[in-house]
Amino acid sequence: MSVTKITQVRPYLTFKLGDEVFAQDVGQVREVLEVPAITKVPHAPDFMCGVINLRGNVVPVVDLRLMLGMSKSQPTIDTCIVVTEVMSEGETMVLGTLVDAVQEVFELEPEQIEPVPRLGMKLRTEFIQGMGKHNEHFLIILDIDKIFSPDELELFQETAEFSPIVEPAEAAVAVQG
């Protein structure tokens, strides 16, 4: 049984998050970068790592592990950023995803891709397009557009906003000029 959304032979880029192998459609990948200096943006949720300078453009970087509900990644020499194009509200948005290591690009037939099992994934299954099989290993094919849909990004941001940061003792001063 194959996944209805996938009907063509497509090349996929595989990368590792922890010990697991994930894949995404190469069509949406712009380039793969070494991790440059990341500038944190205040008040943004944890999975939004910050912004980088990509040849003069300011591009946000997202920790894919945190987005998928895994633990935070520890930077290693293999850590890199996959620069991805996402369709959001009718416009292309460029963003980088932090992954533990990039592996290879190969083609998968639609028959090689199976739907996601409802149970036992321990991941947010709505982000997964299907399960691919390559060299007797399973790989998880991600639905990038869904992961970075405005709903997801905004939903996360709202929950992260407004945790009181001023101690009550200090708060007794009114900021009034």
Binding site: E89, I165, V166, Q176, G177
Partner: protein, 669 residues
Amino acid sequence: MMDEHLDLFREEAYELLAELETSLLELEETPDDAAIIGRVFRALHTIKGSGSMVGFDEIATFTHQVETAFDLVRDGKLTVTKELVGVTLLAKDWIRATLDTSVGGGPGDTQKEQAILTSLSELVLAATPVRQPAGAPPDQPSDPLTYSIYFRPASNIFINGTNPLCLLDELAQLGDCQVAAHSEAIPPLAEIDPEACYTYWDITLTTRQGLDAIKDVFIFVEDDCELTIEVTDTAPYTGGKIDQPHIEEKRKAAPSLNRDGAAQPKQQAAPSASSIRVPAEKLDWLVNLVGELVTVQASLSQTVASQNITGLTSIVEEIERLSGELRDVTLNIRMIPIGTTFSQFKRLVHDLSHKLGKEVKMITEGAETGLDKTVIERLNDPLVHLIRNSIDHGIESPEVRQAAGKPRQGTIHLSAVHAGANVLIQVKDDGAGLDVDAIRARAVEKGLVEAEAELSEAELFALIFAPGFSTAGQVTDVSGRGVGLDVVRGAITAMQGSIDIASQPGWGTTITLKLPLTLAIIDGLLVNVGQENFVLPLLAVEECVELTSEDVAQAHGRHLADVRGEVVPYIRLRDQFKINGQPPAIEQIVITQVENRRIGLVVDQVIGEHQTVIKTLSRAYRKVEEIAGATILGNGTVALILDISKLVQAADSVERAALEKALCRSEQF
């Protein structure tokens, strides 16, 4: 190809309509000015002409009717009245609306169209007692004349979208018309260029319309063709075959006249070649590239300075100078005069004062002041609000004004002037001025201030920009809902600008907007907190002072600093942005001016001034309001640009929430 022409026509028509409006409003003040009447007529005529050329037939016919009325005006047969100007303004709106909605000749709002045309023809009929239909041109020669016309378009005539056959059709409408086409010049099929016009025509036209009417047909092509028009016979042309050799002879006799005729319009056309039309996106692209160049140049300078390579330093300095100049020139290209916006406001004043039964005139000054086009675009709405507000609340009714010993007609003075890297835009009225007591009462009623709060005049004035504030007793559809002015403040601060209000009871109010010339590059102050760099807009920065740990101890933990005797509250960016790490023993407070309040921002270090090329932060971060954008530093890392007023608002609300929480807790115990 055709789409291009449509767009071009639209663009041209919008400009012409804007010019038409300005001229009409001027005409209302000086109804006899022949020069202005001429301008109105020309604008209408050109819209009609190019409209029919690209297929906006509806606009062309409509405009023709309006043009006819102004033809009468030009001949002194119809006098300019307020009504005529009013109807023509409506007609202008109709044309504009039709242009907006129709893709080319599609139906416009026919009901409105009819209404406008009816009132127009009523005006025309009332003024011309001679029985003459509104649509007919005025000075018809009583006897028909026969003209012989030789029309040979330039071979590249198709390139600018002209269809010679349309012109011939137009001629045929003028009267009895015989057309003979000459096909001798058409080359053999193998050599033919399908985009070139080889055919030329001899036309014999018998018409009652004057020579001008015929010339008008060719008005758009006269530079691109050989054209001779001459009267052959005063007797009506009786038809029949055209005698070929006869025409040929005529043409041979004509060339000297033809050349003279062609020379003049060419000269007129010459000045327009000195400016070119460039799509705005191309300019935006250029500005972006220059922005990147400036960034790379900064990092080059930094690298060279740190390595001290002889010979390279002078080259880098040269590049620095050149890229600086390039930046200035590029930004300058995007500067457009604010005058185009000003002329729209004349219309607003005209319509609004009529509606409210007030007499208001608007004087503008500094229309040539150049501003970045993005600033001008974003300035439009705030200015509309301010002018509406001045007319509605500021300027009194004529009776009240007379009783107060002021001229019946109120004046709104709109001016723009450059001041360094900023521009000052002033909206000044000679109305009643702000009522300080009413503002206070209203603010207390709305819960914006405490009843016994002591506020300076400037602070009270600033209240009119608070959300939900309106002192107007009744809500009109013009203003009084209290939505306008806080929107103004929001828009101005979003552009890193500031608002200043001055008012004198009985003499009027002056609102001054201070804005940066451009939004693409700003002067910033680079600071750092821990590992993070931030840029503050230099426009808002007043001074920097030190904050030692003793100062903090003396203030008993309150976030207040003593700046030469004045108490200034401050925000610790480290706390606000949850940046980890230990602050240095001596921190810096950057004192900023936000909405008439002085607020300090505590940072670890002030690095210095920074030419900041503004990059938008990705949409993924649009919920983070305290950050206005990002910029790329010389070392290639990204620094965030702070929106100080949003930052203060956020700190305010966090503090208020914490205070309420603390109060709840103390009540429990």
